[in-house]
Amino acid sequence: MESRICFSLNGKDVSITTDPLRRLIDVLREDFDCKGVKEGCSEGECGACSILLNGKMVTSCIIPVGAADGQQIMTIEGISATEKGKVIIDAFADGGAVQCGFCIPGMVIATYYLLSNNPDPTEDEIRLGLSGNICRCTGYDLIVESVRLAAKRGGELWKK
């Protein structure tokens, strides 16, 4: 059965009439063209489909779209346009964080979430913050370095 679901997507109010049990990832990718939300495992393990739901990081492959009704969603498309997002992306590019790129939008989201809550994390805290996001290419070290770089470059921005 279909129902009307309204939410805020990257700062814009949107609505859709659909089956509320459809996966949020499918609605974001298919109905709102958020192709930066990647499907890696379909079971909430790999973090490639990470988004922010009311500011908290969640995996959109295991959330029904009905749960988004009335909520605020930020995807990589929205994050990458923010000042904080730009700092992260610059740091990732300079730090060598990116290889195949499939996990990377999720990693950017995880970094955004981590630094927004902990502006000056230790290496262990960074590793913990990224541990829900699986990467098969990089061995994580240069992603961790890049997060540190983003923390340093962002400075006060992360405390806002």
């Binding site: 990647k38 079971e43 060598g96 098969r136 061995g139 961790v144």
Partner: protein, 724 residues
């Protein structure tokens, strides 16, 4: 003019767009009015298909099988061998073998219909493991002995070594399946266009796909155009396997006269894709009275699965690397590719070399420990040097910088002190491994088989386009090649265009495999840019082309496997330190240090990233990546039960490089993508063995196996089984 050394890191050209999520992978394209496909596969490991019962098909839905091939169509995938069928006909050899493809406009309806298809089988007893394959369990199904392929190598008088030996020891080292877990699952789309078909695929080797699947419709390869889509990781898993995905799509597109696409979900991908070959290497080693090695005999068995496809070449590389970084007075090695009823094994970073390198490293540790000698000291007696004889009776052409690399790793890891301080069985251990990887295709394969060609085109506005078939799958090739061209031409990298290849517009520069892309195609680009340079300012709109030329004086015989197998090896040294919890057997890795020789690096940061990723993938293979198959079905089918390393499982790595320019590579660069995988598991297992004081001879090594060895394992100092 670009200033500075080419090794200095630059931003990868694809970094920002990948961060923003704007790069398109195959599942991100809409492909307009396309049908969905879903494969119908064998649910049994071995048997005969008796009947297929289809549900009523709504309009526009169809189940496509081998019966739908046109006249003259050939129901095989033309890989290195041509034995793997696109669609099973009567016989099935493994769980997951393609029987047909269900196609139609609505994805959910396709899946629903697929689930209603019932297949009656006459089941036969499968052979699943190497031992079962060798024993011809259920009767041989390949030749009369289940041996898909075999080879043998001999250096020196190994029989004499065994006659003279004071002692002969034997042991078997085993490794398991490994799943690639590229983050992007397999996917492709095939669209009919005019007199040809266009394939969009996540893949490594677009020309392989055209060649492999065009005979299905009795077409020439140029009628199957492949447009590569940015690939989210591959590691060998998208070298030949996309042929298995694209073949049925091509036939379905032919039958339906419409585009058909297919994107695997993760469970489907893990259950139904190629894996790293499980291996079993049995050594028989002749020692003199002081424990020195006189000769080493090995039988190298790889679990090939139901079809041969690329496995003979994998087995060859395995045998060629069975002596690792060492020169022994005499060796003999027999390689056997064993047929079993499992999903065919195929390419995976290292292509057969990691298994034998792990085996020989571990075997040498065990002999050293039995003799009461530090494994490093024992191994260093046999380090191979420039001019020494290889396992194929060729010579090492280049300078081998193992002593320099070892110094770096010893200093960074404090190996000498720790190796003495951590007593065997003390709960702490440090291990060390030595490894190499022959760059590019074996022997004269680059010249005889690949015949790579590459073009550079200059446009009137000064832009230069690189035309070749190399693909970006994460390794950084979209940055490496333009960097080489820009550096030679003295133009900004932004003026160099390098698109995802389209087989209808680029020359075939060979597959993106075998650690050959920088070493071979990079050199073609360097040479082309040098040809272009004097004309760059004077002429508009012109193309230069280069062809691979094999250096003279290094013969290779592909029939006898004798001669110079590789002109340039990558070399590596890795140390790993661990701590074992005496109660829970959990292992904490305290440090990882490695040094690599990849010639002169084209980009230090890209090399650094490759080292980190390869070393970690090797550690996963050696520790947690358990993929069991005892009845023909893979037991691990998701990312929650197949455990690859997370950011918390291993510490930050110490990464070191040596500079050893290779005369035939671009700016002195050699291959390195596979090298960095080859040795970390051996160092890790050496460390764990010492920490628990037990001899470990199989990987992976999850915690329960560590516990098992702690409780029931053989003491490191005990005698290895003797034979006479």
């Amino acid at each position: 003019m670009v200033v500075g050394d080419i090794s200095r890191a630059i931003r990868r050209v694809d970094a920002v767009s990948k961060c923003k999520g704007t790069v398109k992978y195959v599942s991100d394209y809409s492909f307009g009015d396309c049908l969905w496909g879903r494969l119908v596969r064998s649910s049994i490991p071995r048997g005969r298909i008796l009947a297929i019962h289809l549900p009523p098909m709504p309009d526009g839905y169809r189940f496509v099988t081998y019966k739908d091939l046109p006249e003259g169509g050939h129901n095989y995938l033309h890989m290195i061998a041509t034995d793997w069928k696109c669609f099973a006909e009567n016989e099935v050899r493994y769980v997951g073998e393609t029987i047909g493809i269900m196609v139609g406009p609505d994805k959910d309806t396709v899946e629903n219909l697929r689930q209603q298809i019932k297949i009656d089988y006459e089941e036969q007893t499968p052979a699943v493991t190497i031992d079962e394959g060798l024993a011809c369990k259920g009767g041989a199904f390949v030749n009369d002995d289940n041996i898909h392929c075999r080879l043998s190598l001999k250096v020196g008088d190994v029989d004499e070594a065994f006659r003279k030996a004071a002692k002969v020891v034997t042991e078997t080292i085993e490794t398991g399946f490994q799943e690639h877990i590229y983050l992007e699952t397999n996917g492709a789309c095939c669209i009919p266009e005019d007199d040809h078909y266009v394939i969009y695929a996540s893949s490594q080797c677009p020309f392989y796909i055209s060649k492999s699947i065009s005979p299905l419709l009795n077409l020439t390869p140029d009628k199957v155009v492949v447009r590569h889509t940015t690939t989210g990781g591959a590691f060998g898993g998208k070298e030949h396997f996309p042929d298995v995905v694209c073949g049925p799509l091509l036939v379905a597109a032919y039958v339906m006269k419409k585009g058909v696409k297919m994107i695997f979900d993760r469970e489907e991908d893990i259950e139904n894709s190629v894996k790293r070959h499980p291996s079993k290497v049995t050594f028989k080693t002749a020692l003199d009275k002081d424990g020195n090695i006189l000769g080493m005999d090995s039988v190298v068995c790889y679990n090939v699965g139901g079809y041969l496809s690329s496995s003979f070449v994998v087995l060859q590389r395995g045998c060629f690397h069975v002596t690792g970084c060492y020169s022994f007075p005499s060796i003999r090695s027999v390689g056997l590719g064993v047929a079993t009823n499992t999903f065919p094994s195929c390419a995976f970073r290292g292509f057969g070399a990691p298994q034998t390198i792990f085996a020989v490293e571990t075997h040498l540790c065990h002999i050293a420990e039995m003799l009461g000698i530090d494994p490093l000291e024992y191994k260093s007696r046999y380090f191979i040097k420039q001019g020494d004889t290889t396992s194929t009776n060729g010579k090492i052409v280049e300078r081998v910088m193992i002593p320099e690399m070892l110094e770096q790793v010893k200093k960074a890891s404090d190996y000498d002190r720790k190796s003495k301080a951590y007593k065997w069985g003390s709960g702490r251990g440090i291990g060390i491994s030595f490894y190499n990887h022959g760059g590019a295709f074996t022997g004269n394969g680059e010249q005889a088989i690949i015949k790579a060609r590459c073009q550079l085109h200059k446009f009137a506005n000064g832009d230069v386009e690189i035309l070749c078939s190399q693909t970006e799958m994460g390794q950084g090739f979209h940055t490496i090649l333009p960097k080489i061209a820009a550096y030679v031409l003295g133009i900004p990298i932004e003026k160099v265009i390098f698109r995802n290849p389209d087989t209808s517009r680029v020359p075939d520069s060979g597959p993106t495999a075998a650690s050959r892309s920088t070493m071979i195609v990079g050199e073609l680009v360097e040479r082309a840019a040098n040809l272009m340079k004097p004309r760059y300012d004077k002429e508009e709109d012109f193309t230069v082309e280069t062809h691979y030329e094999h250096p003279e004086g290094y013969p290779w015989d592909q029939n006898t496997f004798q001669g110079y197998a590789y002109l340039g090896y990558g070399w590596g040294v890795c140390a790993v330190e661990v701590e074992v919890d005496p109660c829970t057997a959990e292992i904490t890795t305290k440090g990882i240090w490695s040094s690599h020789d990849c010639g002169h690096p084209i980009d230090e940061k890209i090399v650094h990233g490759q080292v980190n990723g390869g070393v970690l993938q090797g550690l996963g293979w050696g520790s947690t990546e358990v993929m069991q198959n005892t009845d023909g079905h893979f037991k691990q089918t998701s990312m929650s039960d197949y455990i690859i390393p997370t950011s918390m499982d291993f510490p930050k790595q110490g990464v070191y490089l040596v500079d050893n320019p290779y005369p035939w590579g671009p700016f002195g660069a050699k291959g390195m993508g596979e090298l960095v995988f080859n040795g970390s598991a051996a160092a890790y297992i050496d460390a764990v063995s010492r920490a628990i004081g037990k001899r470990i001879n199989r990987i992976p090594l999850p915690t329960e196996e560590v516990m098992n060895y702690m409780l029931h394992g053989t003491d490191l100092r005990s005698e290895i089984e003797e034979v006479r």
